[in-house]
Symmetry: C2
């Protein structure tokens, strides 16, 4: 496994792999890797020949009051984990390498898809995401890129960007990986103290309750949202940011479950904001 810090080195290694006829898989991360990230890398390894992982805490996707400074980082541990699943190349640039002085070019999916859900409380977040992912795609030129469904809105936004800017990249969304007790894995789980960690179980529990209700025939969005909110509110520390049920592609609000629905929620425990979601496909 190779670890590089510059764009030119990435280009060189990727070109060498291409010349050998290898396909390129790409997994963008902000590091502090957990089993969720590793599942993406294993999938990349299964589907492509040469797997590139970026580890970059991208400042432009954090709002001014968010946790950029405290976001957890552990590159030595991340490297070991990447090596353990057979990653070929890590790209771990400094901020200056990605954003030299004067940098001002952005990519933005304008309209409701980035303004709903997490976009409502994080108004510049997805512009930061699409801008850095566009850069990383141009740097790594992958055949396939792997994203976790945990960030369901991110997947929808990236899929829209890829389609509308005509990137020749296949986006492969991968299932949410959960702790044994159901909490969706996230680097931000490390912020939780023991009590918050225990109470955070209401996120997955509320989605399970919604799933059970849907399996029993419920299709009304208002009823499902009420059920989810009630479940979450059983945790005294939980402060709901949003609970929404939307079309999984457009992320626009719906009244009744449709063919491909996303149930998404964000809940704060103290300063820690956690997200979780459930996708419901019906024929």
């Amino acid at each position: 496994m190779t670890v590089v810090k510059t764009i030119n080195e990435v280009r060189q290694f990727v070109k060498e792999a291409r010349l050998k006829g290898m396909t390129i898989g790409f997994v963008p991360t902000m590091g502090f890797l957990h089993e969720g990230h590793l599942s993406l890398m294993r999938e990349a390894k299964a589907q492509t020949d040469y797997v590139v992982v970026s580890i970059f805490v991208n400042p432009t996707q954090f709002g001014p009051t968010e946790d950029l400074a405290t976001y957890p980082r552990d590159l030595p541990r991340d490297q070991m984990l990447c090596e353990s699943v057979g990653v070929d190349l890590i790209f771990a640039p400094e901020v200056d390498e990605m954003y030299p002085a004067g940098h001002s070019t952005i990519v933005d999916c304008e309209g409701p898809i980035t303004k709903q859900l997490c976009g409502a409380s994080r108004p510049t977040h997805f512009k930061g995401v699409t801008s850095v992912v566009a850069k990383l795609f141009n740097i790594t030129l992958p055949d396939k890129a792997f994203f976790g469904q945990k960030d369901a809105q991110q997947v929808a936004v990236i899929e829209k960007m890829v389609k509308e800017l005509n990137f020749d990249v296949e986006i492969v969304p991968c299932p949410i990986v959960r702790e044994e007790d159901g909490l969706a894995m996230s680097s931000r789980n490390s912020y939780l103290d023991a009590e918050a960690r225990r109470q955070a179980l209401v996120l997955s529990q509320s989605l399970n309750a919604a799933k059970a209700s849907i399996d029993a025939g419920e299709t009304r969005v208002s009823e499902l949202i009420a059920l989810i909110r009630e479940t979450i509110q059983q945790a005294p520390m939980a402060e709901i940011d949003y609970v929404q049920i939307v079309d999984a592609t457009t992320l626009l609000a719906i009244d009744e479950l449709n063919d491909d629905t996303l149930i998404a929620l964000a809940v704060k425990f103290g300063k820690t904001r956690l997200i979780d979601n459930l996708r419901i496909r019906r024929r």
Copy 2:
């Protein structure tokens, strides 16, 4: 020469050329080709193996009151001209192919580089340009792309976008091509009646006057701008949009000529807005 209308066809032809080991040159145009465009294609042909030309009147770079509807079009003639200089592939998509319903992803160089000069009177123009060029780069994946220095600000903006979004494309700016009497070639020259066409000569004449003054030792921007304005105002139909002297890379205003200066101007003759410029490199 092949002419295609779909993105998938372009990808296929470009991939076939790549498999043969050919390098790809790309010349984006809005059609109604003139000698300026042909000079770009000849340069592309000289520097690369397989030359792709796009012919697409991009609606997103026109303002609401601009000449999108009347912009001149003549695809059969354009095809003949492309063939005459050895173009390999023409991509002439319909608007729907480039912007399907719901399209909202944009690329923008934020800040003064797109707000100065033409950006002042055409506030959304460069956002439209960078967005469509990003799409076209992703569709054609060229080694080199060729742009006319006639659109000096466009070249500066595209170079910034390529650098900041890490496109693996070399931008090759090519010299302005002029009519025998000095008027810079432009598809919009076709709008001019005989009298306006005659008076439009003041554009190149004003730049020549500035050049002569610089050769004689003038370095003060204010003096040069005054000289250019006086020359243009000798044409009674001329209505100056701007005359500016800026750093050629940042497009920021300067007081004295520097190492790489751009003198740029836009002048309206009736409804027809013409631009011209002169780049002054000094050691």
